[in-house]
Symmetry: C2
Subunit: 375 residues, 2 copies
């Protein structure tokens, strides 16, 4: 059922996701509510104003500039629901509406496995990541990682010739770390570079966990090699668990702090990996389960529905706002408890989202941001 | 219900277990069948003759010499069922009827944990065994091991002051390896040296797995640190599983062959150990479950029953022998299928055991030895 966006739709999608306070969840709510990105963009200023603060809407020229830059670098934008969008990621909660991709999107249609681990990995850890990636690549798997120093770089390097995917935390032109420029170029030969961030975006600390959800989301499972406690690799593992992906880890010496996090995963029940066959055995049953990924945004109906931006009654809005608090609440509960109809609750939540006053969480939950966090 | 053997009983027990073709299982059958070791000893020559080959019965003088040697070395014999016999071992299938013990048998009444591993362990493996044994000792646990080089020696050394037990594969005067003489002496300060073999017995290859069942049997659980494939530590782990003991292992690098066996245990579900708290958490629920260990040989009734060594009818014997084969058969099945009464089947099996023609296996099973293996 995958279709391609038209040029106008693609510009509207890009403007919408690049507008202030619009993340993947809000994007989905807006497109579903208004029947498409074009209509959502039109509704945006009024919605945000009603929420209490007008957010900055991405100008058409800025979106066109970004697309020109992407094309100039030989990359392209792939939208959620298009045929080249990574299928496992499409099925994940919070999937990015648009990915910037350089290289060969064809790899997304082969089974993918993430290999992640410490930047300061031991020599043995790097060797193991190298061996694992080479063997999995040889067996037809695409290796996904984050292009970091240490385990990530070892895994990418060993699978350049069989296909590997590096997910950036910043824009595709903002490589981090810079010394991996040559590796990034080599990855493009048979694999792909991926980012959900705009060109020119320098990655900040909070962009890395956000990026890690894409690594986990693209893959059937994540192998953690040498992760310390409180490391990014453990965040990837946690996100993978939340997404229902297989979490695997390689054992390490109990005396090595670089392995404390990965050993903790194993203690908590992660699949025990000492060779590539262990990975294949764990993941093979997950390939081609025959279910098409859910289509969270129906492109077929996109832009088709009518414009519906009627202002909710002040009473209804007040009741919804009153029910919100700092703990995430289920949207379904808000509908039931407020007595307002579902469409009204959706509109009120969109207003608040665009004003930066609430956050969306996985599983259809929202929570109020503390006032000092309003953006 | 524990009682102490009288001097005469102890000599009879020692003669019986030191007689040819009498192992722990046969010992139990004989004592239970004849109501005591004294009566069993009397029945032995006739039984063995009927089985087809007279085994060598340990002479009284030889047993007295052994006891004198044991006493001269400051050690003593502790019989299954006596108060100082290690309680967990008493409950194990194939528990040795007699243990020679030097040092302090009092440690047997504290909770015990085995730490075993590679003789060629890495520096990290030895350090981990040292840390684990010291912490477990500090927490009140007695550390059991096999006095081998590498992990065993590290575990004993670190727990000398808190109590550790070394189980020998040969006689207590046949230390292996010889360079651990000083360590063995230090172990006696707060712990104990244990053997089921006669004084003067030089350990052969097959004595080590036999010894390993005592290590596992004394302990609530076994921690394996750095075991290669086909190593003695894996045998200990397998025996521990069969005995219902907790099997635990420390992780190691997937690239280190010295850790392949221990990693394989973890892959198969052994409890994952990276610190002493993991061990305590796994074993604490097993302490003091309130059940007294089963008394496989009732000393209270020993020597009390009458002498019963009536020769079975030739027909009955022939039917039992015909049912035996190279695959282990349940004794209960032999009784049912032969139509002979249980006591007759027991007698026939004792005859064959003493003639070295059958082997006892765990779970009340026996199998015929191939003719070329008859001893």
């Amino acid at each position: 059922m995958a279709v391609r966006l038209g040029d106008e739709q693609r510009i509207a999608w890009l403007r919408l996701i690049r507008s202030e306070n619009v993340g993947p969840h809000t994007f989905r709510s807006l497109v579903n509510h208004f029947g498409g990105a074009v209509a959502a963009l039109e509704a945006l200023p009024e919605l945000a104003r009603r929420g209490g603060r007008s957010g900055v809407i991405c100008a058409r020229a800025r979106a066109e500039d970004e697309i020109a830059e992407i094309v100039a670098r030989g990359a392209r934008l792939i939208a959620l629901g298009e045929p080249d969008y990574p299928p496992a990621l499409a099925a994940a909660d919070g999937a990015p509406p648009l990915l910037t991709v350089a290289g060969h999107a064809g790899v997304f249609h082969r089974p993918m496995v993430a290999i992640v681990g410490g930047r300061n990995a031991s020599s043995a850890g790097r060797s193991f990541a190298t061996r694992l990636a080479a063997e999995l690549g040889g067996a037809g798997w695409v290796v996904v990682s984050g292009l970091a120093r240490g385990v990530d770089a070892a895994a990418h390097s060993a699978s350049v010739s069989t296909g590997t995917v590096a997910v950036f935390a910043g824009g595709l032109d903002c490589l981090y770390p810079p010394e991996h420029a040559d590796l990034a170029n080599r990855i493009c030969a048979e694999g792909a570079l991926v980012s959900e961030m705009p060109m020119g975006w320098q990655p900040r600390g909070r962009d890395f966990p956000r990026r890690n959800r894409i690594i986990a989301g693209m893959s059937l499972g994540v192998v953690v090699v040498e992760a310390a406690v409180r490391s990014g690799s453990l965040i990837t593992a946690r996100l993978a668990t939340e997404m229902g992906r297989e979490v695997m880890a390689a054992p390490g010496s109990p005396l090595d702090p670089r392995c404390e996090g990965s050993n903790a995963l194993l203690r908590e029940g992660a699949t025990f990996i000492t060779r590539s066959d262990d990975v294949i055995e764990a993941l093979a049953p997950l390939i081609d389960r025959g279910e098409p990924p859910p289509q969270p945004i129906s492109l077929a109906q996109a832009e088709a529905a009518g414009f519906d931006n009627e202002e909710p009654a002040a009473d209804d809005r007040a009741r919804v706002v009153e029910l919100l608090g700092p703990s995430p609440a289920l949207v379904d509960d808000l509908v039931r408890q407020s007595g307002a109809d579902a469409r009204t609750v959706q509109i009120v939540l969109l207003e608040l989202e665009l004003a930066g006053r609430i956050e969306r969480h996985a599983g259809g939950r929202v929570r109020l941001r503390p006032a000092e966090d309003w953006v």
